[in-house]
Amino acid sequence: MNAVTPLMPDIDFAYDDVPNLHTLIDELRTHGPVVPVRYHGSPVWLIMDHGLLKSAFEDYDHFDATAGYKLISEPSMGKTLQTMAGEEHRVSRALVNPLFMPVKVRSYVEALIEPIAHELCDRMEGQREVEFVSAFARPYPFLVITRLLGIPVAEESQFMEWAIKMIDFPWDPEGAVKAKAEFDAYMQAIIDARRADPGDDFVSRLTQAEYEGESLSDERILSFLGLLFPAGSDTTYKNGSSLFAELLANPELCALARGSDKDREAIVTEGLRWQPPTALLPRMASADVEFGGVHIAKGDWTLFGITAANNDPTVFPDPRRFDPSRDNREILTFGRSSHFCLGMHVARRELETALRVVFDRFPDIRLKPGQTIEHVGAVLRGVRNMIVQPYGEA
């Protein structure tokens, strides 16, 4: 791969903001469905075509993600569903799956998700202007996880620090490993307590889970809990920020968001298509393969171009138009096949509930006029900040 010259060599997709990502993708697409680009300073293969990306997600012979994830996440995160394959993955996933199924997630909405949305709106109450990402979008999915785990409110900010650091391994290995150790030490006490006196809460359910004679060790529970933050909080907050930015700039969409549950489901799905939070997903090839007109060698890094595939005009006509009425069954935001995102239902319910509660509490909410709002980042993509006026024109 090193002999390959990346296209757009001035752009590094690991570090640069790329606010014009969709335009860059349009230009890259003219060079082929799979092209070399720069990532962490080295050339990698960016897969953009929808059909090819779908097949890559389903192809565990050539694109088994586990080897790559072991390199970039196992040192700080431990062994997780992302680093497991085959039978081990099937059984491990089955152990935690009931906590993420539609019927269970529906119960989280009223008991957990909706009260948190209201709590964050309470903090915006009475304010003329609020920075919405830090006031709502970012803490919202994070608090869903900490409350799900039974973390006391006073400890939440400490958890936020650990959560941010744990996934920083490629940039700060020592810091990431230290954060995971501190997180584990804290959570171990909660696991011990739940094992001794189990209830109906999330951690108790993990300690009690059984499937085909298997159960979860403390080590596996700790790794799984650690994974919840990057997988469930960072992604959802990024997408929530993108979604609100798009809606608040469009009064017709705001009106639709005040409509029915089905309307909100459609809006959220279109937001997930249009600006997926994991815009480009790093994956290491597990075997040599001729793919989309290029030779990808075992050990080459690829970027699964989810944003590109979700905006492939052959599948999604006029893809840059935000249109909640389009057929979105083919979006690849949550991946595909047996490693499909476990938390998909939680993420969707969080986003739908956020729309319902925010527009109910602040029917006149709007963006502060005159701001330039940019979606930034290529691995995790969202809006960094945006000032809203909860009560409209002051």
Binding site: N97, M101, P102, K104, R329, S337, S338, F340, M344, H345
Partner: protein
């Protein structure tokens, strides 16, 4: 072979199914409302749940334990609940009906 879907609004859709394909693919190909199949048929998303009514004299194979576990987590399940990604169409199922639940979520 003919496959009948009743969507959440009660509308009937007759679709020409292909022997060997699964019923989720048949439904999504025909854009049947309410059948999503977002994971592509890996029993990982629980968004292709339907109530299956095979034609008289025919029966579907029992769901695997993994499918059973997934169905248990779906909304408004009934004894006829199936993940349509696990129902493989064949000539013996000519005329099978799938009723799409009011919501997958």
């Amino acid at each position: 072979m003919r496959v009948r879907f009743i969507d959440p609004e009660g509308h009937e859709h007759l679709v020409e199914g292909e022997a060997g394909e699964n019923a989720m693919r048949c439904a999504t190909r025909a854009l049947i409302p309410g059948v999503i199949g977002e994971c592509g048929g890996a029993m990982a998303c629980a968004t292709c749940h339907c109530y299956a009514m095979p034609p008289e004299g025919a029966a579907l194979p029992e769901p695997s334990s993994q499918e059973r576990d997934m169905i248990d987590g779906c909304i408004d399940i009934q004894p006829t609940s199936r993940l349509t990604c696990q129902v493989v169409l064949g000539p013996e199922l000519e005329g099978i009906t799938f009723i799409v639940p009011a919501s997958q979520v």
